[in-house]
């Protein structure tokens, strides 16, 4: 896994557990901090 100077991630699978952002893409916006 590599991270560039602007926070882009390289060398990881596209099947990452993308959590919230996956939900955002699929279901619309969600507010944060639902687990804690």
């Amino acid at each position: 896994m590599e991270i560039d100077s602007y926070g882009r991630i390289y060398g990881v699978s596209d099947d990452a557990y993308n959590g919230l952002l996956e939900e955002l893409l699929n279901f619309g916006c969600k507010v944060i901090n639902m687990i804690c």
């Binding site: 882009r8 991630i9 990881v12 955002l24 893409l25 969600k30 507010v31 944060i32 901090n33």
Partner: protein, 320 residues
């Protein structure tokens, strides 16, 4: 371009000051407003990433974010222009105590694209005001509730998750609150209810706040209150549609930007140096400690459900 880099979540602390002093809060309020060089850094970071993005999600946290409304407006305007120019989706939400979420602010915030809000109660007026007081020690329930009623009477297009905290002593008060919410908000699909147990998150009063320790008891109380809310016609918020709840802190493409420019992963472990994974520079570059970053996203490689749901392990949840 790796798909993961087409979406980016930035969680901002536009100020770390708060006008509330909730009894269970874990924050220290020692850092004030976000510095100008950090605001410039955020804009330059968005500028650098804008061409490759399909989704930019900006979340406003704090401190009480609405104490720094001007900073929010500045960054949202910049992000909106970038989204319009580059064609990515901009979504935005806010966790607020809602004391400053007045009618005029609501209109301004929605128009700048902040559409989703999370607002908490700790019971009906009696119990809530025992736990949630202003910095001066005054009551907060009516201020928050009246602002939510203002939103209800508007036709603004946004969503409000009302988060209610269950503790050892407030069950009856929460039933009373749910009855009140049903009377005032039933049928308004913009509102939903999220019932959650109060947690020990590292605050100075952790030893005296009435946390329920037993997981089964929590499940039972949450279920029972949810059933009561459903019976009264309130919509419940379901936080995780996926099989595995994944915290933003465990996601590759989520960064928390503190008012100082420090970069973190978690919005709770604010005073643990493991959570300070780097710094945002004024030119938008992020100096990130890869080893620290790797700790937070380790669940992505192990597939461990606890590491994905809470990499800081505040709570080892039982995921079936």
């Amino acid at each position: 371009m790796n798909r993961i880099n087409k979406s980016l979540q930035l969680i901002f602390f536009p100020t770390e000051e708060c006008n509330f002093r909730c009894k269970y809060c874990y924050e220290h309020f020692e850092i004030g407003r976000m510095r100008n060089e950090v605001i410039n850094g955020i804009k330059n970071l968005i500028k650098e990433r804008e061409r490759d993005l399909e989704l930019l999600n900006l979340e406003w946290f704090g401190g009480e974010p609405l104490l720094a409304f001007d900073i929010i407006r500045d960054i949202m305007n910049f992000a909106q222009e970038s989204a319009n120019k580059n064609g990515f989706v901009l979504s935005s939400g806010m966790t607020t105590n809602a004391s400053l979420f007045t009618k005029s602010r609501q209109k301004q915030l929605i128009s700048m694209g902040i559409t989703d809000y999370q607002v908490s109660f700790d019971g009906d007026l009696d119990m809530h005001d025992m736990y949630r007081v202003t910095r001066r020690g005054t009551q907060t329930f009516n201020i928050i509730y009246n602002n939510l009623l203002e939103f209800h009477s508007s036709n603004l297009e946004g969503n409000i998750v009302i988060r209610i905290h269950v503790n050892k002593k407030n069950y009856d008060s929460l039933e009373s609150l749910i009855t009140k919410l049903s009377r005032d908000f039933m049928g308004d699909s913009r509102f939903s209810l999220f019932i959650k147990s109060l947690e020990k998150l590292g605050g100075p009063n952790d030893q005296i706040i009435p946390i329920i320790e037993d997981e089964e008891e929590i499940d039972e109380l949450v279920r029972s209150l949810g059933k009561y809310a459903n019976k009264l016609g309130l919509k419940l918020y379901e936080p995780n549609k996926s099989d595995i709840p994944v915290c933003y802190a465990a996601s590759f493409n989520s960064y928390t930007i503190r008012a100082t420019g420090e970069i973190s992963k978690c919005t709770v472990a604010l005073y643990d140096t493991r959570n300070t994974i780097g710094r945002l520079l004024e030119d938008g570059k992020m100096v990130i400690d890869k080893e620290k970053f790797a700790y937070w996203v380790r669940g992505q490689f192990s597939g461990d459900k606890n590491e994905l749901s809470c990499p800081y392990a505040f709570k080892q949840i039982n995921i079936k």
